[in-house]
Symmetry: C2
Subunit: 250 residues, 2 copies
């Protein structure tokens, strides 16, 4: 009996942002694996076993999914946002590459999802409407010197920037340094968007000029978007719109 | 009577990648505006007027949508992929900012979609699993010197890269120069993914080492993803997987 692993993006929180392709995969699963708050989003049903696990055990969870697939199970690994953006797809492939050879025959697929940066961008307007980059600010996975280098090069390239995992309780200093580097490197007062719990009932969107940003404006549930030098704000009575024009005009 | 404009991402092609949020907005629309192949994807029904228009008239189309909203219509502007990524959202906001003042009171929202780079990434594995950038290679909207500068800085930052609109019939030389710059700047033989017509019945995914890439491998229906120095290929009998590990290991 031949099993499968589907790594599925369940979007940033709102069920209306889950694609029919992912909904269909969840309906066919025998087992669901993932960080427990994401697994909890999937309704229990007969024939489905839900395996919620803690944060920071991505490789264990991936190995578990691959082992179950080899036993013939149809496993869905649920991932917040899009699984390919700072999420579970790379973890599963790391486990696969370092695992037993017979895992290489497992049927594995990745189903895209709405990643937090694009949900946040949509709520603010279109700040990523021109060239941009996405950086994971967590320094669990790379040295701070690399993050700093990338921030400076991204500013020099005049990319809009999207930051995932900007600030954890255990390492709050990284985001403070990020803001210092940007204030130094960008040389102008571009808009910064703090989008917390995007698409959830308690969503908040704050638009703050770079010079007025402070580290406490972000936590691990916040997506931070920084405009390029071209990014504009349209002021309206019903709320501002932040967008980056398609053309380079200055 | 108060109308609205919804700028909705209909994903890269497969209807199974359209979010329920977008499907719901389309069901409530009185008018649909967009590039005609995208408008043609929406089934006709009583009470719905479909306004397909040609490519390169994004501002005219945006003005038309805003004018109809002011007349009380519920207009959906359909956009391929995600509307905020090299698509219709920035165009609508450009029209809004440069239009009559009463447009500022129009109810406008953006609904995210699955953008081509993430659909392509999912089909290849997880090449964008670490920090990355997205660049529109069309030089309609910015000078080539800026594109070249961004390519070199992105290589220096060791971002994986996603290229939209890599090569048009009228300007094929840009992509040729892009490949030359990357071969020069990257200094190693990283994987390049050519994903054409992603999620459509005639989808093709080619994985080619950078040294063996040629300009004719891309056209305007191709998404090009370039790995970082860390990107790996898992060779399997059932087809390769390309992924970029979460951690920086070398």
């Amino acid at each position: 009996m031949s099993g499968s692993v589907v790594i599925a993006g369940i979007g940033p929180g709102d069920d209306d942002l889950v694609t029919p392709q992912v909904t269909d995969a969840l309906a066919k699963a025998t087992d669901i694996v993932g960080y427990f708050p994401y697994v909890d989003r999937i309704a229990p049903r007969d024939g489905l076993t839900r395996h919620g696990s803690d944060n920071r055990v991505e490789i264990d969870r991936s190995q578990h999914a691959l082992e179950m697939a080899l036993e013939g199970k149809h496993v869905v690994v649920v991932s917040s946002g899009d699984p390919g953006v700072f999420a579970m797809a790379a973890a599963v492939f790391e486990a696969l590459e370092n695992g037993p050879k017979d895992w290489l025959n497992i049927d594995i697929s990745v189903l895209p999802g709405i990643t937090a940066m694009l949900a946040a961008s949509a709520r603010a307007g279109a700040p990523l409407g021109h060239d941009f980059c996405a950086i994971n600010l967590s320094d669990n996975l790379k040295p701070w010197s690399i993050i700093e280098k990338r921030l400076r090069l991204a500013a020099e390239a005049d990319f809009a920037m999207a930051f995932y995992n900007p600030r954890s309780k255990s390492r709050p200093e990284g985001f403070e340094r990020t803001l210092e580097i940007l204030k130094d490197a960008c040389g102008d007062d571009r808009p910064v968007i703090f989008a917390r719990n995007v698409s959830r009932p308690d969503e908040t969107i704050k638009i703050v000029p770079l010079s007025q940003t402070t580290p406490d404006m972000a936590d691990m549930r916040t997506m931070v978007l920084v405009g390029s030098s071209q990014t504009r704000i349209i002021e309206r009575e019903i709320g501002p719109i932040v967008y980056t024009p398609r053309s380079l005009t200055k």
